[in-house]
Symmetry: C2
Amino acid sequence: MGKDKDKVSYQLKVPKGTKDWEGKDMVIRDKIFGNITDVFKRHGAVTIDTPVFELKEILAGKYGEDSKLIYDLADQGGELCSLRYDLTVPFARWLAMNSSIQNIKRYHIAKVYRRDQPAMTKGRMREFYQCDFDIAGTYDPMLPDAEIIRITCEIFESLGWQGRYTIKINHRKILDGIFQVCGVPTDKLRTISSAVDKLDKSPWEEVRREMTGEKGLDAEVADRIGEYVQRKGGRDLLDQLRQDEKLMANESAKAGLADMDLLFTYLKSFSVLERVSLDMSLARGLDYYTGVIYEVITEGSAPQTQEGQKLKSAGKKEAKANKHASNIDGEEDRSNDPTVGVGSVAAGGRYDNLVSMFSGKQQIPCVGISFGVDRIFSITKQRLASDASAAPIRTNEVDVFVMAFGGKGFDGLLPQRMEVAKRLWDAGIKAEFSWKVKPKLPQQFKAAEVNGVPFAVILGDDELAAGKCKIKEMGLPEGHPEKDGLLIELASLEQEVKSRIGRRGGSAELSDGVDGMSLDEAAKAAPKTG
Amino acid sequence: MGKDKDKVSYQLKVPKGTKDWEGKDMVIRDKIFGNITDVFKRHGAVTIDTPVFELKEILAGKYGEDSKLIYDLADQGGELCSLRYDLTVPFARWLAMNSSIQNIKRYHIAKVYRRDQPAMTKGRMREFYQCDFDIAGTYDPMLPDAEIIRITCEIFESLGWQGRYTIKINHRKILDGIFQVCGVPTDKLRTISSAVDKLDKSPWEEVRREMTGEKGLDAEVADRIGEYVQRKGGRDLLDQLRQDEKLMANESAKAGLADMDLLFTYLKSFSVLERVSLDMSLARGLDYYTGVIYEVITEGSAPQTQEGQKLKSAGKKEAKANKHASNIDGEEDRSNDPTVGVGSVAAGGRYDNLVSMFSGKQQIPCVGISFGVDRIFSITKQRLASDASAAPIRTNEVDVFVMAFGGKGFDGLLPQRMEVAKRLWDAGIKAEFSWKVKPKLPQQFKAAEVNGVPFAVILGDDELAAGKCKIKEMGLPEGHPEKDGLLIELASLEQEVKSRIGRRGGSAELSDGVDGMSLDEAAKAAPKTG
């Protein structure tokens, strides 16, 4: 391709809709993954890892219209494969292939692929992370469902989102019952359901117009629906619905309300009931949900009125600019990607029939949730940037920079610096030194400061001759008694360093970095509500 | 595709050459990743995450003949992309794109893709993990190189491989010098170099035959080469070479030997010199190496004489069975995948010119190593299976199973079990309970035993009425005073549980699982040699 002559004849970039993760973004993302994983493990979850691509026919027929967004591998001979579109279908395929496994709590944090029109304003990428937790198996009603809600709360608390998120909840059977009671014809159930789902962004008049207009629903039926689906609340609303005789006469609604009653009881035991809002307009796009459904929103995730309008028109412009995107844009709210559309940061529900699509016979009931890590990342990053009290984020975790200084004839003390670094590594301490034979002291300090290294161990000829070295905490204020460092015995170096790191509040990994997101905090995460 | 009628009309499997990771395998692999990451961080490394696919032209012209193994994405409109083949080229692409970054220590643990003939006998997969660590930037000679060797030792020590691995080391400039001094024509340097690289598996006679036969080298030249490349040793060998006047008269050899001399001095400071073997036959396949090269072998990785022959003939059978594989098989030893071929578990070297292939002008010297995680995993798993003293591997990390028991009229104590589980989670303790309203006690014990949960908290009506519950360490021997558990105050539940977990030697995560591979051990990892 003529590249030998002209080395950079092509564009140096990553593919459209993908990005490199690096620096502080990478650190924040890793901490988010760490917090989420800690909570999953606290509840006994295990992880599995499936291939990035699946046989094409495994994915076929699972995503409805969105199937057009699936990335295929080129046909280079052999099997036809596609990049995974989500983590749920591979999980169901895995369950179907491993029939000895009748129950599991599994989490999976991995990238998924959608040949979508990238939209930066919505955080919509072609390669992005999903973070899924699912419980498969037959248990007494609503107990796994309740634990998923509890886990969801623990995760957002551990991320420092106390009081800043709401879990909208509903039940497919309640919704179906409402539609039946209101007189929606069976063949219009799905389309009316998806119209209702837009109520989080559109006023009722608009949704009603969609129902009675293009969807051809009776105006009276629409009005009856409107009376139900605009309601939100907690236990009070649930009790009202359970006293609605018309609703309770419907088998589906009755079953859904009984589930919800039990769920609320369990959520109260788990002290998370007050984080939940029964939202009759929540319908969720995916067809495969069969029971309780939920969606987590936060003040940062749902577009504010003004900003939302801006985002919307930006979205429309993007759509116009690219004709291929037109139907994608129209589909935005129906996407099952929790990072797109209504601005939820996590979403999921019960799907009792998906595994049998693969196994043919075997039915394994499942309930799960998917966290939109990219959106959680954006909100967390924004919050950190605006929080002046947040500790600065370090990109590496080095605790000690080993330095040397000296006057005339100074040879750099390289073997001594290497020996000290080695002793620190042997003691499990994170340490660096300058890769120069004769480094200048200011350069060494600068290297430590750039990375926010908290301690310097400073070697000098005279000190070494006396069996000593200097330890200095970086960034102490002027006038502090230890501002210029402290002489310590070289023999007790490791203990001196360790006790100082300990006194500073654990290793850099634990204390520095993202406010409210340390592993320590995660361990203490306790929903304060309910 | 007729799937609506006949749901399972296709094969339920993963694509050829890929696999699902699950259960204990997943736990062992995660612990290996954790240990490796800890060592990288101890040395100040940061991580970056690049997309799974790159523009096709980024990968083009980087892998020579192996380019045919690159997976392409289907052309569905837009850019042409390929799955990454390794992590080095994306790293170089990233450095070239981010010209503000002039130096970095980065690690990257991720999957790479090769449309190779899968060979289970060699652990060759189409999707497999690589674990790369690279240092980019201009520093004083051999200091980053020495630290990579030190890091490599810390990693294998932390994996519990004390004394069971050797780092073979050589230098491209020494090799080139030897070939020049022996009289190899310039146009034959590469092909003779790759013949020499086979000395780890073939006797000298065979290699000599290849040189003088198909490669048309003078017999005398071959004999002179033979005198050099069959030598292995440490500082003694290096000193001999440095007294070889013919060799020292060659500029390339002289520079390489000076590098090696300095490197050995640094490795002695780092106490890892005795892990290293100067091996004059080590040449490494990739063209882009420009300085020191190394390869880690272990008693478990290099095929033993007999077993090696078995593996070899298995490989040949595989090759015969599939015509497409014939040239792949011929290439096996030239692959830059450290998990394939000679059986090394890690490999790498200095490559000072790769970044400029992308940047055109900017030169960023690099040195790095790639760990073959899949092979390290296989060896570790085998070792654990044959080590009767190794603690059993648990798939989850739950510390406490919350149970209830009672006689006639027992209602299951579900709200109480939920309350206790909630308190434990709030305290950061990993806990589970049965998702049954009225579970039987033996079922609850079995659920705990299956997962190796170390403690049970047992609730009963009478105990609760007295503000107490029972705590029981699982698996105590008959006759142990606490065999039947101990009554404790419910009010001090969290402290009682925490102190017991602590006494057992840290949380399950730290003490159980893989022998010699706990995080604790990693922190203490100290090469005992040198």
